[in-house]
């Protein structure tokens, strides 16, 4: 048979096509369900299933989204690029309705890209909202971002990050923005918004005595995320995509945020006290939860001190297994190559040498610091000590040394994360805020500020009628409320002295003491001689906190000077600016 070159070429083409189709079919065969024979599908389908990437696993199958993907005829990438460009252009030109419409198309073809949802929701809530001058418009776009993100939940059922972001936006954007006062107030009354969120949260689930609260809703979003991670979805595990200690910190943190916001807006009461109680319980539960961070397992922030003590005991045990003086010898070797700043201070070194059971709490801390510095210089020092053990103790010494090493890492990691999340402070703060003195202190300061704006500025005041005639009895005025409040704060700080430094002391100084100082200046009164929080002010001054409050030394100097000059009744404390004039 005589084959023409044309025919031969065609046959070759057909053979190549067939040869390519076979592997393609093997690789790309869709999954037919496990019940059927060979139902696992081709290599790609199996890999998708293995990594939880199949469409059915990732999200609900949305006909609209699928149609959009089909319409793009395999040019999804190009369509995506065009839509992103359009969205950016619309944003640049302030055409936000077009942007929103473009985003609707964009997410149809990229529904399972969590980053797209989060990025664009952030764009709406954070970037576009601030383009508006009117805070009502701003709030509208904050909500747009949140609602946009809720659409992404059904497309990403196995990804907790959307819930986390919703928690963050609902809490942080509404509760921490410059316009937080207005935002939170509008949030309380925005029934349409709450109705829109009903598929995920019952409207009453975040209702409080002060109507709906964004921080409580934020808490619920984080709770949903946590449920997803802890229980999985449809029997499948949901991988955690954030470090455990950071992830689990988010939910309990929202309770205290809620309490703090309510303090500002309505003052402290029994409800806020209960919130702090709950905040403490959940914070302690967080602190006692064993976490995994990197290759360190079972780290718990609540056991940091305990672990430190355990290390000390193990070190003593190790010392008993090696010849006497080995630890000092190794430590001396460690110090040989170290500079002075790396070495423990004389005070720390002295504390280190005191037997464990005889150390005071302060000495315990100093000894810990010294130990940290030494181990920091040579991480293998425990093993080196163990190597010096006589042969009969060698195995046991080595075991103890590696136990110390593991425990040491666990304690350090716990301490590091404890610092990151400010564990100890928030625990103590939650405890402090529940104290009746703290509630009374906050209540008094809140009433004082309110009275200041309402006209009852002095120590005492009385209501007057239209003709200026007094009606009713004399009542406590703003200045007296402040003094009562500070006296209560002093009691609280005496009970938990650690709080004399840190964010609570900042809040007392910036939000309460400075205000009080300005009120005194406005009413031409002296700073009181036996001021209850004078100790706090002095301590802050020693710590270089430049808040402009009068220290004891400053007051004494002024008083002495005034004594020489004959004295005036006017306060020498002049704050940088005065508070707004009372309304009435």
């Amino acid at each position: 048979m005589n084959l023409s070159p044309n025919l031969i070429r065609k046959i070759v083409y057909i053979l190549i096509i067939v040869a390519l189709i076979i592997p393609l079919a093997l690789v790309g065969r869709p999954s037919g369900g496990k019940a059927q024979s060979g139902g696992a599908g081709g290599v790609l389908a199996q890999m998708r299933d293995e990594h939880g990437l199949s469409q059915a696993k990732l999200s609900e199958i949305d006909p609209g989204s699928e149609s959009m993907k089909l319409i793009s005829l395999g040019m999804r990438g190009i369509a995506t690029n065009i839509l992103w460009t359009q969205a950016n252009e619309a944003q640049k030109k302030g055409d936000y309705d077009t942007l929103k419409a473009t985003l609707q198309s964009l997410i149809m073809i990229q529904p399972t890209f969590v980053s797209v949802w989060r990025y664009q929701a952030h764009n709406l809530s954070y970037n576009i909202s601030v383009e508006f001058d009117d805070y009502q418009h701003r709030f509208h776009w904050v909500k747009e971002g949140i609602l946009f993100l809720t659409d992404g939940i059904k497309y990403n059922r196995r990804d907790h990050r959307i819930m986390d972001t919703l928690g963050f936006f609902t809490g942080n954007k509404i509760g921490m923005a410059d316009e937080k006062k207005q935002y939170r107030q509008m949030f309380r009354f925005d029934d349409d918004f709450h109705t829109a969120l009903e598929p995920w949260h019952e409207i009453d689930s975040y209702n409080t005595p002060h109507r709906h609260d964004n921080w409580l809703l934020s808490y619920l979003w984080y709770g949903k995320s946590r449920d997803m991670v802890n229980s999985g979805v449809d029997g499948d595990q949901v991988p955690l995509r954030v470090r455990e200690p950071i992830y689990y910190m988010k939910q309990p943190a929202q309770i205290r945020n809620q309490a703090m916001a309510l303090h500002r807006e309505f003052g402290a009461d029994d409800y806020t006290r209960q919130l702090w109680e709950k905040a403490e319980t959940e914070w302690l539960a967080y602190g006692t939860r064993p976490f995994k961070a990197g290759d360190v397992r079972n780290m718990t922030m609540e056991r940091i001190t305990e672990m430190g003590e355990e290390i000390e005991l193990l070190q003593a045990e190790l010392d008993n297994l090696v010849p006497e003086g080995t630890r000092d010898e190794i430590t001396a070797q460690v110090f040989e190559n170290a500079n002075e700043t790396q070495k423990p201070t004389a005070e720390e070194d002295r504390a280190r040498r005191i037997p464990v059971d005889q150390r005071s709490p302060e000495e315990r801390q100093l000894a810990q610091k010294a130990q940290d510095k030494i181990v920091g210089l040579n991480q293998d020092m425990f093993l080196e000590i163990a190597e010096k053990a006589p042969p009969e103790n060698a195995a046991e010494a080595k075991q103890v040394a590696s136990k110390i090493y593991r425990l040491y890492r666990r304690r350090n990691t716990s301490a590091r994360y404890g610092e990151i999340v400010n564990y100890k402070f928030w625990k103590q703060r939650a405890q402090a805020e529940q104290l009746p003195d703290a509630v009374a202190a906050r209540r008094a300061i809140f009433e004082g500020k309110k009275l200041y704006y309402d006209g009852g500025i002095l120590e005492e005041w009385e209501q007057t009628d239209e003709d200026g005639k007094a009606i009713g009895e004399k009542q406590k005025g703003a200045i007296q409320y402040f003094l009562d409040g500070f006296a209560n704060w002093a009691k609280v700080l005496d009970q938990i002295p650690d709080l004399k430094t840190g964010p609570l002391s900042d809040e007392i100084a910036d939000d309460m003491l400075l205000f009080y100082g300005k009120v005194l200046a406005k009413t031409q009164r002296d700073w009181p001689e036996d001021f209850p929080l004078q100790d706090l002010i002095d301590r802050r001054n020693i710590n270089n906190e430049q808040d402009g409050l009068p220290t004891t030394a400053m007051l004494e100097r002024q008083r002495a000077l005034r004594g020489q000059q004959g004295g005036t009744n006017q306060s020498d404390y002049i704050p940088s600016d005065l508070p707004p004039s009372p309304i009435k």
Binding site: D97, D134, H137, D178
Partner: protein
């Protein structure tokens, strides 16, 4: 709405100030160069076919024959061919397919249109107009590209060319026929779209709560919802949530002295109270959401009253603006500037005026010059003229969060330069609170307090103060200057020329809708003419690619122009240099290492850039005829704009058709 060009047909056609900007001059130059280049090209083709000497006679012969062919076109024969072309296109059923696709997209497209947007009318009108444009233009491309090549292939063209028909008539007839059939489709689509838009935007609300009376309202003074209410609002309520939004409703208090003229429209008055000297009306008002609000009527009075919220108002609007002919910016020292302050926006459409500082007021201002400010232009208003503003605000500090940035404006006569003793009136500054991202409507009373001033621009002295009439005094020359300032220290107000205008009235919405579709029709004429002409010498697929190329260049000429213009500043080079960088894996900032190679690449890229740029010059700017944004934003498309687009479209189409005539004439088939 963004408007960057304010065309005036007369000036566009013949610009006496700068003749090189005259469209007429460019038309003549382009046609002349087109004739010369066409003759040269024709000669080269003929020379290739018949030799250089014979070619001369061939070209001369064609030119000689073209004169009667182009001048003595018979309308009767053109009509017959057009009829034939239309029939043929109709028989292809493409028109029905296109309409069915359109109908389906309207049926299902509505699913993807988000009704919760602040301005749904923009999204919906944009959707229908874009859909229509896409389908009609595609149809135009298909029927014009396939017709002639198929006729030639099937030899059915002989039934026409063997008749006493001129080639020019074939081209013109085909274009007319196809345009007609597409016009029918376009008209049908416009009608369906109008109904669709109307249906999609129609919605109603009710007062939220158990009863539609005063019991649904709460006292503004007793509850703090975080929202801002009108200054004289005493109570507030909300409407039900429908079509993706709800409205705030206010009970607003209006006090009238008993001896003064009373409130005219009482249809929305819920309650009336009377004191010794005053009558107080409590009106129910629905606040605007985006660009629309609702009419309110109240049946009955007191507790039996029933509040009814009527249909939406404001979606179907066609404002007729009187734009400023000139915008000038002044800096904080009062010095004239080309542009306003840039507050860091990437898009430099708007310039900002500065509010100064607390200690030093700023002289920064935006000055708008208006022409033709006459009472007749405004339909002789009795109480006020409408000034509309679309401003942007920018804050450098938080300021007072409870109110928006404040601005003020002043109007002043622009004197006639020929008048030796002009009467210049200058109003007092009129303050206002800015409102962003929506059209802010300010009613400028016809009688405004101000001064009669004299002297030069810088040093004006007050001759007399009083209350003066807007048209008779302030705009006594028919020209008016409006100066805009920002009043808040540390804040800025942003404006562009189209952001401040007087609204002379409204035209019917349907007529504006129609004008929007006229733009699509003009684009269609260009596409069909091009399609027919290209198909005289190219096959159908190549014709389609050709037209698509023209369309892309026509819509994106600006973008391409920008890309090629900035070629020298382009970091990383043009396409060739970029390719080299890609292959050699060198980022945009790294020198290529070989200077001579670098300059060679630069030259090659520059040649490409110029080639690209000159190509964009040869295609019509199709965006000029795209009026959809006017309809979307509710602005009337002005006659001057339409005239400019119409003229350039028709001239381009005629030129293209003449080229088509020559192409068909020189083909064997048409001889």
């Amino acid at each position: 709405m963004v408007v960057e060009e304010f065309p005036n047909f007369g000036e566009w056609l013949i610009n006496s100030a700068d003749p090189w900007q005259s469209a007429l001059l460019w038309f003549v130059l382009i046609i002349a160069s087109f004739v010369v280049l066409g003759a040269i090209f024709g000669y080269l083709v003929a020379a290739f076919r018949h030799g250089p000497f014979e070619a001369f006679y061939v070209v001369a012969g064609v030119i000689y024959q073209s004169v009667p062919d182009l001048l003595y076109i018979s309308p009767r024969r053109v009509f017959a061919i057009a009829k034939l072309a239309a029939k043929e296109a109709f028989r292809r059923r493409v028109i029905i397919v296109a309409f069915v696709i359109f109908a389906l997209s309207l049926l299902f497209g509505g699913w993807f249109l988000n009704s919760g947007t602040t301005h749904p009318e923009r999204v919906i009108v944009g959707f229908v107009m874009f859909g229509t444009q896409l389908l009609v233009l595609m149809l135009g491309v298909l029927i014009s590209a396939f017709s002639l090549p198929e006729d030639i292939n099937n030899r059915t063209i002989y039934t026409v060319v063997t008749k006493p028909v001129r080639a020019s008539e074939i081209v013109l007839g085909r274009v007319a026929g196809f345009v007609f059939i597409c016009t029918v489709l376009l008209a049908a689509m416009a009608l369906v779209s109008y109904v669709f838009v109307w249906r999609a935007l129609a919605h109603s609300h009710e007062i939220a709560g158990d009863a539609a009376n005063e019991s649904a309202f709460k006292l503004v003074s007793e509850s703090d919802t975080g929202k801002r209410y009108s200054d004289n609002a005493v109570k507030y309520a909300e409407t039900t949530f429908d079509s993706g939004h709800s409205h705030d409703v206010e009970l607003v208090k209006y006090e009238y002295r008993k001896d003064a003229e009373q409130l005219a429209d009482k249809s929305n008055v819920l309650r009336i109270e009377e004191t010794d000297d005053k009558i107080i009306y409590y009106r129910v008002e629905v606040k605007q959401f985006g660009s629309h609000a609702h009419e309110v009527s109240v049946d009955g009075t007191g507790d039996d009253a029933k509040i009814k919220i009527g249909p939406e108002q404001g979606f179907f609007r066609s404002r007729e603006p009187l734009y400023a002919s000139k915008l000038t910016f002044y800096d904080r020292r009062g010095q004239e500037k080309q542009q306003g302050i840039n507050v860091g926006e990437e898009w430099q459409y708007r310039g900002y005026v500065e509010g100064g500082t607390a200690s030093r007021p700023s002289l920064s201002a935006a000055e708008f010059d208006f022409d033709n400010v006459t009472a007749s232009r405004f339909n002789n208003p009795e109480e006020f003229v409408i000034l509309e503003l679309t401003l942007r605000a920018f804050r450098t500090h938080k300021g007072d969060i409870n109110r928006r940035v404040m601005g003020s404006y002043q109007i002043e006569t622009i004197p006639d330069p020929q008048d030796p003793s002009p009467k210049i009136y200058r109003s007092t500054w009129i303050p206002f609170e800015s409102q962003e991202f929506s059209v802010q409507v300010r009613k400028v009373p016809l009688v405004i307090e101000g001064d009669l001033v004299s002297g030069s621009d810088k040093q004006k002295e007050v001759v007399e103060s009083g209350r003066y009439n807007f048209f008779e005094h302030y705009a006594n020359t028919g020209k008016l200057k409006l100066t805009l300032r920002c009043n808040d220290p540390g804040h800025y107000l942003g404006v562009a020329q189209a952001d401040v205008y007087f609204r002379t009235g409204d035209s019917p919405y349907w007529s504006n809708f129609l004008r929007g579709y006229l733009g699509i029709w003009l684009q269609l004429v260009v596409i069909v003419s091009l399609g027919v002409v290209l198909s005289t010498f190219l096959g159908s697929p190549v014709t389609i690619i050709g037209i698509i190329t023209f369309v892309v260049l026509g819509f994106y000429s600006d973008f391409i122009g920008q890309m090629t213009e900035h070629k020298e500043e382009m970091v990383g080079g043009g396409p060739i240099e970029s390719l080299v960088r890609l292959v050699t894996q060198k980022n945009m900032m790294v020198p290529l290492g070989n200077e001579s190679a670098e300059s060679a690449l630069e030259v090659a890229d520059r040649i490409l850039a110029y080639a690209m740029y000159s190509t964009t010059l040869s295609v019509p700017d199709l965006r000029k005829a795209d009026f959809s944004s006017f309809v979307q934003y509710g602005y009337g498309i002005d006659f001057q704009r339409i005239l400019v687009a119409f003229t350039s479209t028709i001239v381009f189409s005629i030129c293209v058709m003449i080229a088509g005539y020559f192409c068909l004439k020189t083909r064997e088939i048409a001889k």
